[in-house]
């Protein structure tokens, strides 16, 4: 598969407690040359935003220790981070509603390369529009 980068320069935050999932998702993002920061729970994600970090896209799991994905999303949105694309990733069908209610833009049960490519293209378009 040819991985299109189109001058990516996107910054992603990956929020995932399961090592295997972190490894796979990190590698997927690396394929698209996305600069990725990885944390292991929602609290760490929120702390990054509180510390002034900015990201173009957040990919987050639902159930994690200390703070869940939806909880973190609610706090991030409440801080005023309304532009960042937030994607909930969880195999649990019940997670979709929780993610959407918390303010996620999108929820997927599993992240495949084709889907990630599409999401990154959308994120890039959104970023280009807002900086124009």
């Amino acid at each position: 598969m040819a991985f299109q980068t189109q001058g990516s320069n996107l910054r992603a935050l990956l929020v995932e407690d399961i090592k295997v999932n972190r490894m796979i998702l990190s590698q997927m993002l690396r394929k698209f040359q996305v600069e990725t920061t990885v944390v292991q729970n929602g609290k760490e994600a929120v702390e990054l935003f509180l510390g002034g970090e900015t990201f173009d896209i957040v990919l987050t799991d639902n159930l994690m220790p200390i703070m869940t994905g939806p909880e973190a999303i609610s706090k991030i949105r409440a801080m005023g981070a309304t532009d960042v694309m937030i994607v909930g990733v969880s195999v649990d069908a019940n997670s979709m509603e929780e993610f959407k209610d918390a303010g996620a833009d999108l929820c997927v049960p599993k992240l495949k390369l084709e889907i990630l490519e599409h999401i990154l293209q959308e994120t890039r378009s959104k970023k280009n529009k807002s900086s124009a």
């Binding site: 598969m1 399961i18 295997v20 159930l63």
Partner: protein, 175 residues
Amino acid sequence: MSLFPTGVAASPRCSLFRWKRKLPNQLGRAKAVRSVGDECSPRGYLDEQFCQVEDLQDEANPNFAEEVVSLFFKDSARVMLNFEQAIEKHPKDFARWDAHMQQLKGSCSSIGASRVKNECTSFRNFCGEENAEGCTRSFQKVKREHAVLRQKLESYFQLLRQAGPAGTATRPAGK
């Protein structure tokens, strides 16, 4: 029958399928790889997500799939051990049991371990029904499927290593 279930539209770029189309002088290698699948039941152990994992391999990470699988078995063994301790220390704590199994299900889904994942789902359904006996039976199935998958994948990667890198294959003369 391969490690993949019948009728699954697994990507032809996935290695188990790719090698079936290799040149005649690689048939020995293809046969070795297929032989791993021949021992499996037709229901299959892996879904197309495993192909996604293999697709992530590149020059910088040539053994990515094997590293992920190795991490999966190391992690999942720990999760199952924690779960067995939880059964002893927290009998009928279905919320706790479910949380353990949720973790395992998540990583199974990521590598395409469909049969183990399905047994995890079954277990979680029993948790939802607060059926302790069902949970115990289901967990035994999870352990069995996990052990079988481990054997299959260990054989698969061993065969891959023995077969050597695809780039070393040479086209037969005149073709």
